[in-house]
């Protein structure tokens, strides 16, 4: 079983839709969770990070962590064509800054 699993997509949605992106993980020691956005041929850009179970909201983005299920989600409200990118989850445990990334989900928001 891979440490971090992420559906590669592509996920196509109409403009204005709510998007749900997810990662599952196997290592119960992971405590710190990040979401990155990566445009084609660019470096990852940090969107959100969370350190505990529950929700964290920032503008149109909401990150959700369910440690009991080893499952994290990123919700994008009112999606825009400019949100079209690959979304990466990343996580680590408390004793290290070695991040384990998911493979990324490619999102296409259609105008």
């Amino acid at each position: 079983q891979k440490e971090v699993e992420q559906d590669p997509g592509p996920l196509s949605v109409p403009e204005g839709a709510i998007v749900s992106l997810n990662c599952t993980y196997s290592n119960s020691a992971f405590q710190y969770f990040m979401w990155y956005r990566q445009y084609s041929r660019k470096g990852p850009e940090l969107l959100m990070y969370t350190y505990s179970s529950g929700n964290k909201e920032d503008g149109r983005f909401t990150a959700q962590v369910d440690k009991s299920s080893k499952y994290i989600s990123l919700f994008i409200r009112d999606s825009q064509p400019s949100d079209s990118a690959t979304y990466l989850c990343a996580m680590r445990d408390s004793g290290t800054y070695k991040y384990i990334f998911g493979t990324g989900t490619r999102l296409k928001v259609l105008a």
């Binding site: 990070y49 800054y97 070695k98 998911g102």
Partner: protein, 113 residues
């Protein structure tokens, strides 16, 4: 807005040659990282660096790899004898302190022939 820069954007080399990838982190940042991303695969941690020392490294970061901060602005990744499987995007990142807020550069695409 300050940003991490990397040069070159694309490097082509022959197998067995040495390459040096260069990064200029954001000026007041103290922690530096290298990652690689093989085409179509996930981003992989290589090494973190602080106070002129390696803080952590992954299993990928073997004796063929080295990092250096030769002056107050540059941070380099050297691959001594490149292999075909070293072909990937290499990303540099930096943080002002040991936090999760990493700022990534645009990457260097390394092609080993």
């Amino acid at each position: 807005e300050p940003e991490v820069t990397q040069t070159p954007s694309h490097q082509v080399t022959q197998m067995g040659q040495e390459v040096i990838l260069r990064c200029v982190p954001i000026s007041n940042h103290l922690y530096f990282y290298w990652y690689r991303q093989i085409l179509g695969q996930k981003v992989e941690f290589l090494v973190s660096f602080y106070n002129n020392e390696i803080s952590e490294k992954s299993e990928i970061f073997d004796d063929q790899f080295s990092v250096e901060r030769p002056d107050g602005s540059n941070f380099t990744l050297k691959i001594r004898s490149t292999k075909l499987e070293d072909s990937a995007m290499y990303f540099c990142a930096s943080t002002p302190e040991y936090t999760d807020t990493q700022y990534f550069g645009p990457g260097t695409r390394l092609t080993v022939l």
